[in-house]
């Protein structure tokens, strides 16, 4: 019995030593050479094959490569769970000499902040969070603008006056989206009601499809989603009803069901931030109103893009176009009073518009037209 262990230990030791010598040699040769290229790293929650959220970021990364050509070198890591692995992967990207690292999911917030402290010379940008540091900026898109337009189209299209919505997690970004949708819905149809199912995941095609089926069984004839896969639209297509795509154009998955998609157009955002890094003007931005950083951008800058309006009558498409134009021009700020919550209490008085900070801190209610209450 003793011999066994001794042999095993010795064997491992010898192997390790050989390995080490080979490794030591080789790694010094491959040691990261300093270059004048900007190295950009991306951390993805799922895979670009999700055809939603991560795919949109991947398109942004490709645009960065196209725009800067030889001046940048990008890499990404996919399927990184929101936990200790995230910190390790971000750290690894920093060690590999990346100059700026984009972490593209809310759950990477604390790991990003943690790793950023260890690498003061590396810039980090966390997408969709609210914590910043010396070298950590935040960036996000005003998704809710597209959802307001969705609400208008849904309100005009629904016959059952029942609209179903798949939500991921009850965080401010998602509540903003639900309420913007509700405001749009009620602005054209005082009888329509929005019901929410919490999928408790960003990406879970099976659960998303199941939740969509529940909505359909309850009589919903329009579906919207704040989750990432095309599963809901596929269910809508099958049931012969309509829905909205999320983050990427999902028309290919549901040509007869997709009314339009709100597409997250990350390319210009990433190009902009990397250009600033090259110029030396990159900053984290701050200020009380800037919960999502100085780079909370939306339809006005084409960071959020609506695809073509399909499968709807001309008057609905017309109304949608007008609403989109008003949001783009800044005429319609969406969260402008009077806004009542779904118990009838006046929450935002007439004439007042919620600022960015208030969009994050004060929306602890559903607006009129949304059923139920926020979980938790």
């Amino acid at each position: 019995m003793n011999n066994k262990y001794v042999i095993a230990a010795l064997g491992a030791l010898v192997l390790g030593a050989v390995y080490w010598m080979v490794v030591g040699e080789k790694s010094s040769q491959v040691a990261e050479k300093a270059s004048d290229k900007v190295k950009v790293g991306f951390v993805y929650l799922t895979t670009p094959g999700d055809h939603g959220w991560t795919y949109a970021h991947e398109l942004g990364r490709q645009q960065v490569e196209k725009h800067f050509g030889d001046k940048v070198e990008t890499s990404y890591v996919e399927n990184v769970p929101e936990g200790p692995d995230a910190a390790r992967v971000i750290r690894e990207l920093a060690k590999k000499g990346n100059n700026i690292i984009f972490t593209t999911s809310f759950g990477y917030m604390d790991p990003t902040i943690k790793v950023a402290k260890e690498f003061p010379d590396v810039k980090f940008e966390h997408i969709s969070g609210y914590k910043r540091a010396e070298n950590v900026a935040t960036g996000n898109i005003r998704y809710y603008e597209g959802r307001y337009v969705q609400g208008i189209v849904a309100g005009m299209m629904t016959k059952s006056n029942k609209v179903g919505y798949l939500a991921s997690f009850p965080i401010p970004e998602v509540i903003q989206g639900i309420n913007a949708f509700g405001l749009g819905l009620r602005s054209v149809n005082p009888d329509a009601e929005l019901s929410i199912i919490w999928v408790n995941s960003w990406y879970d095609p099976v659960k998303e499809a199941d939740a969509a089926k529940v909505h359909i069984a309850e009589g919903a004839d329009i579906l919207a989603q704040h989750t990432d896969s095309p599963a809901m639209l596929q269910a809508a297509e099958k049931a012969g009803i309509y829905g909205f795509g999320q983050a990427s154009d999902m028309k290919a998955f549901a040509p007869k069901a997709q009314l339009f998609s709100s597409v997250n157009n990350w390319g210009p955002h990433y190009v902009n931030k990397i250009q600033k890094l090259l110029d030396g003007s990159w900053s984290t931005g701050d200020g009380p109103d800037h919960w999502a950083g100085n780079d909370w951008v939306g339809m006005a800058d084409d960071y959020l893009v609506l695809t073509s309006f399909d499968n709807m009558p001309a008057d609905v498409a017309e109304a949608a176009k007008k609403a989109a134009a008003d949001i783009k021009s800044g005429k319609n700020k969406i969260f402008t009073g009077p806004i009542k919550d779904n118990s009838g209490t006046l929450r935002v008085p007439a004439g007042k518009t919620l600022n960015d900070g208030e969009l994050f801190t004060t929306l602890d209610y559903y607006v009129e037209g949304v059923k139920g209450k926020i979980p938790g």
Partner: protein, 366 residues
């Protein structure tokens, strides 16, 4: 047709050669896959298995990644040696994390000197409790422990999910399913190695894991308990004649495996996360099964096996960063490795022959 006859005695030489050959074959097949995917096979193997540990901090990270695997697999070795098929270490790990988390959240004012032992104890109890369900059901009703322990994994996952979304959610988490951060006393700290400094994320839990494996080896080879476990596994009838109580042994090994898995859960959370979240384990309980078998059910071997499997994980991430290789390749690697091991094991135990079958010999077989 293929005939398999059990070998009479298996040489020591074969015992140690098998995993090495299995690893070698995995590398060869892996290289072929890389080639097929359009990557340079040698460069890919380098980035997969060498580059991650070519720096000191990489070694630290390797041990950190291997830590929960080593602890959990050490416990599982006892089960599998006794022919008790506990597949539910993943759930036992989660319960350990929950119990320890409960203590950490309930007593934020306690100093580390009392809080840490309390959390360790709680995690072990949590893991044992979860393992006792399949163990007692098996002993009392002769249920199948594979099925029960596996199913309880999903119950555990849903339980922690409910806790962090509901009663234990940090009110300041903006609706995200996370508990409060643990206080400093509830965290396992990184090791400051003399002359080198911090070795990546290397933390004290790793030291515990290595010690646990050695204690496991001692228990298994040098104590009556270990002897009973081995006898019940190799020759249950002989064990019964010798007066060993199979039920007690089943309960004992399940408790060891459950307690170890629970401890792994506590360490993973306290050393790496600092708070509970819906996912505290990313399949460690299942990967540990591979580790236990790769180690040929030997607690010391578990250390090396854990490191090899952890290396494949780190390498998968590294290959993504450097080569843009898809993450699923890591899973394929693990699968091939396990397959090769089991094939090698079979070859070890049985004389495998290819025989022509005539009608007569077929009759004789029956």
């Amino acid at each position: 047709m293929i005939s398999m006859t059990p070998r009479k005695d298996i040489s020591l030489y074969r015992t140690f050669l098998t995993p090495l050959v299995a690893i070698l074959l995995t590398l060869v097949i892996g290289a072929a896959i890389f080639d097929f995917l359009g990557f340079n096979p040698l460069e890919s193997l380098y980035h997969f298995f060498v580059a991650p540990i070519s720096r000191y901090d990489g070694i630290g990270d390797l041990f950190v990644k291997a830590c929960p695997l080593i602890i959990t697999a050490t416990g599982l070795v006892f089960c599998y040696r006794a022919n008790v098929w506990n597949i539910g270490a993943e759930g036992q790990l989660v319960l350990g994390a929950i119990f320890a988390g409960g203590v950490a959240l309930a007593f934020p004012d306690w100093p580390a000197i009392t809080l840490m032992p309390a959390m360790i104890l709680a995690s072990v109890i949590g893991g044992i409790c979860w393992a006792m369900i399949p163990a007692l059901l098996k002993v009392r009703f002769n249920t199948n422990e594979i099925l029960v322990s596996l199913m309880l994994t999903y119950v555990a996952a849903l339980f922690i999910d409910w806790l962090v979304r509901g009663p234990w959610r940090d009110p300041m988490s903006f609706g995200f399913p996370l508990t409060k951060m643990y206080t400093d006393a509830a965290l396992i700290h990184r090791i400051e190695v003399p002359f080198i400094g911090m070795l990546g994320q290397l933390h004290w839990g790793v030291v515990g894991a290595l010690m646990l494996s050695l204690v496991g080896a001692f228990l298994l080879s040098r104590t009556i308990l270990g002897y009973k476990v081995r006898v019940m596994g190799d020759a249950p009838r002989a064990g019964r004649f010798a007066g060993f109580n199979p039920n007690l042994i089943t309960i004992g090994v399940m408790a060891i495996a459950g307690g170890a898995a629970g401890l792994a859960g506590m360490i993973e959370v306290s050393a790496s996360m600092g708070q509970l979240q819906p996912n505290v384990s990313f399949g460690y309980g299942f990967t540990a099964i591979i580790v236990a078998f790769l180690a040929r059910l030997n607690p010391v071997g578990v250390i090396f096996a854990g490191l090899i499997v952890a290396l494949a994980e780190l390498g998968g991430d590294n290959a993504q960063i450097v080569l843009g290789m898809p993450k699923v390749v890591t899973g394929v690697f693990k699968g091939i490795l396990l397959f090769m091991l089991l094939a090698g094991e079979t070859y070890n135990r049985y004389q495998i022959e290819w025989r022509r079958v005539g009608p007569q010999s077929a009759l004789r077989e029956q």
